[in-house]
Amino acid sequence: MTDPEPFCVILFDSTSEALLAEKLFKKADIPHKVIPVPRHLSSDCGVCIRFSARDTQRVKTALDGRVAVRSISPLD
C-alpha cells in the first residue's frame, strides 16, 4: 500500500497557502497528496502536501516566489 520511495512534506503558514500550493503542484504535474500535518511535525490542525523526495527540486521551482513555504521535511 505504501510507496517504498521516500516522501517529503511541505508545510505552510496557512491552509489557504496550502491550497494555492496544491494548484501549483497540479499545474506542474507533480504527483502529490494533501494530508493532515503529521503529529510529530506539528500539533497544529493543519494540512500539508506530501510528495516524492526526488521531486523536491521541481517543487521548489514550482512554488518559488508564489507561495511562502514554512518548511520542507523528509517524512519518516
Binding site: 500500500m1 497528496k33 494533501v34 494530508i35
Partner: protein
Amino acid sequence: MIYEIDARGLACPQPVIMTKKTIESGKDCVVIVDNEAARDNVCRMATNLGCETDVEEREGYFRIRVTRGTARKEKKSVAPATGPTVVVFPCDRMGKGDDELGNILIRGFLHTLGEISPKPDVMIFFNAGVKLTTEGSDVIEDLRALEGEGVKILVCGTCLDFFGLKDRLQAGIISNMYDIAETMLSAGKVVRI
C-alpha cells in the same frame, strides 16, 4: 435518618447540584424547593440517577422525597456497541461552510483513516458522496488501501446513476438501499461525515 436539604431561595442549578451530591454520597434525602422549575429539575435528575421521587406540595413550597435503591437496578446501562462500525459519506466534502476547505478535510480524513486503527468495518457513500469513489476523485488510492485492509465499501447505485458515474466507479462495490439500510440499522455505531 432522612437528610433534609432546604433549597428554597437558591438560584437555578443549585438545588439540583446539592441533591445530586447527596444522592452520590449514598444518602436518601428530602429536598425543599420553592418553585416548579426547581421541582422538575431535581426530580428529573434524581430519576436519571435511578432514584424514586415523591413530591408533596405544601403552601409555597414543595417537599421532594428522594429515595435511592429500588429503581436503581432499572437504571439503563448503556450496552456497549457490538455491531460493526459504519462510516457514512453523504457528501464529497467534510462539513459545511467552504467547499474547497471541505474537500481538503475529507481528503485528510480518508488519509487519516488509513493511518489509524481500528478501521471502520463498512463505509457507505451516497448522494454526492459517491463522487469520492469515482474517476477523478483524489481519494481513490486511500479507498483502495482501506478495501485492501478489509473495509467494505458500499456505493449507492441510484446515486452513481443519477450523476452519470456508474461506469466510472474506481473503488468499492455498487450497492442498493436494502444493503445500505440494513447495514446502518445493524451497526454498533454509525459515524456520519
